[in-house]
Symmetry: C2
Subunit: 347 residues, 2 copies
Amino acid sequence: MAPQRSTPDPLLLRAIRHEPVERAPVWLMRQAGRCDPAYRSYRDQVGLSLHALFRSPEHAVALSLLPRRIGVDAIIMYQDILTPLEPMGADFQFSPGPVLDEPLRDAAGVMRLKTCDPPRHLAFIGEEIRALRRELDGSLPLIGFAGAPFTLAAFLIEGASPGAMARTLAFATEHGQVFGDLMERLTRMTVDYLNYQAQCGVDVVQLFESVGEGIPRPLYERFVQPSHERIFGALRDGLPSILFVKGSPFPELMLDSGAAVLSVGKDTSLRELLERGAGRIAVQGNVDNRLLAQGKPEQVAAAVRACLAETGGQGHILNLNHGLLPETPFHNVLAFVQAARTARLPA
Amino acid sequence: MAPQRSTPDPLLLRAIRHEPVERAPVWLMRQAGRCDPAYRSYRDQVGLSLHALFRSPEHAVALSLLPRRIGVDAIIMYQDILTPLEPMGADFQFSPGPVLDEPLRDAAGVMRLKTCDPPRHLAFIGEEIRALRRELDGSLPLIGFAGAPFTLAAFLIEGASPGAMARTLAFATEHGQVFGDLMERLTRMTVDYLNYQAQCGVDVVQLFESVGEGIPRPLYERFVQPSHERIFGALRDGLPSILFVKGSPFPELMLDSGAAVLSVGKDTSLRELLERGAGRIAVQGNVDNRLLAQGKPEQVAAAVRACLAETGGQGHILNLNHGLLPETPFHNVLAFVQAARTARLPA
């Protein structure tokens, strides 16, 4: 059953559709995370592992909603990109980063992967989304998300946070056919998973290519780009979509991905991207997350204004280059949101 | 002693300086190579290993000059990018690709590298260059070259043709300081080596970043770009220079390298590069080498004309995306050169 939307035109959705906005919408990747004292104290109180939190709709809902009090224009569901890999047979534990007992290292490992059926295996995520919709009641749009297939493959092959991805790049280059089979399985899963989220009620989905900047161009062209195009081409009709590629090394390829919004790193010009997208594409980003970790609130506010000045605030979702760093002082997060909400757009 | 130049303005040098040309100069990477029947028969006759040929000025001169008969506008010295690594302690053998007995795998390996003093250790290359100048006698410009530091590092670490460079990327990411030390040593050697070539009489130098397309952006920014800038900033005053990066994944960084000419892959727009270079930068390339290996002569000629049409033939050295493939039918090489020499430029 498709959920009803009580507010027809939240700022975020208008920005995605390139409709005029009175100000650019703002949210932050990892806005429900360790830099928020309320997040840390919630986690201390419940005392559960990350693994358990991701599988508890009650706690995931509470954590997703924490940033509502600081004035963001979207809520993103609290979840981990690795969660749908568990029903495929890869159960990551967190200690504190994700660790897999048996990394995937050969064709047999790919063959052993099972099919993830989201309504059956990830019902707790569906429940989280439906509860979030009820809580939000149309006041704010809800963002769902998934890890992109290459990023998931890198976690599976490295068996941990990928770093330089040495094994992954070697695997993809030397065993292209097996790697292609792995990408195929992960791509199909990702399509099913995102469409399941849409069916449960998310307003927007974001695909996270979190290892994007470390991917050499030949592998990006051979494996990454086709997976993005497949996924954005297979989403439910009209589902607004965001492609995040960390560091955005090849923005011109992102333009062909089929995503409605491109979320890019700090070295990619938002203005140029908007121009090249010619009104088809909105942009998201791209204030440096290190500035929020290390700078003063005035510097954060100035960076927000400079970022908005670059685009004129239209077709632009204000965000970071990538996720908030855990050591970020929370007053800088507040300064970021406040600067975005009070910035004057050109008439 | 600076050599005298009897023809003051060869086509190649005018194109590099963005001076008007009646037609775009043409040469081909690996023009003295296995696709030329004369090259194969010469090698059969002398029966020497590649290792020995690179160290024999007599044979290296004869092989360098073979393409003169087909009408190219430049001669590139016959040599290997790995040759200057031998005096540093890394003696590659060819069987048939380059193989190193003891790949460089740790800080101790970096510390063991010796300093290469080109006039002392590479006198046979100086002799090759001086003999080539005498033979050419100003009729054609002579191109010298070196492998770029990251490419050399990849050969040293992999101990063979780098492929996916899994070990190299892991080394550079996980042991950044040691890798930086290695890059520093290779960068200093490359500056000395190219300036030695200039002193012996080459008219132009080309830096080959032959593994360029496989380098992820963060490593490119941290290690590759600074090495290019260092090298082009340290060349003898006024020495014309070409930067070749295979596949040119980050052309906007190449624009800041300090090279006079950018030699790019087939997916980089020459026209856009010329525009962004704003008259400071010439371009080289970028007909697909696979077309020469697999296509018909008419298709090769058409691709040459299309490539020249993109730039108008000014500030453009016609060449390939990268080296001629060994299996290329020689009639396609002839068609390439002929099409370039007879193409009409816009008035």
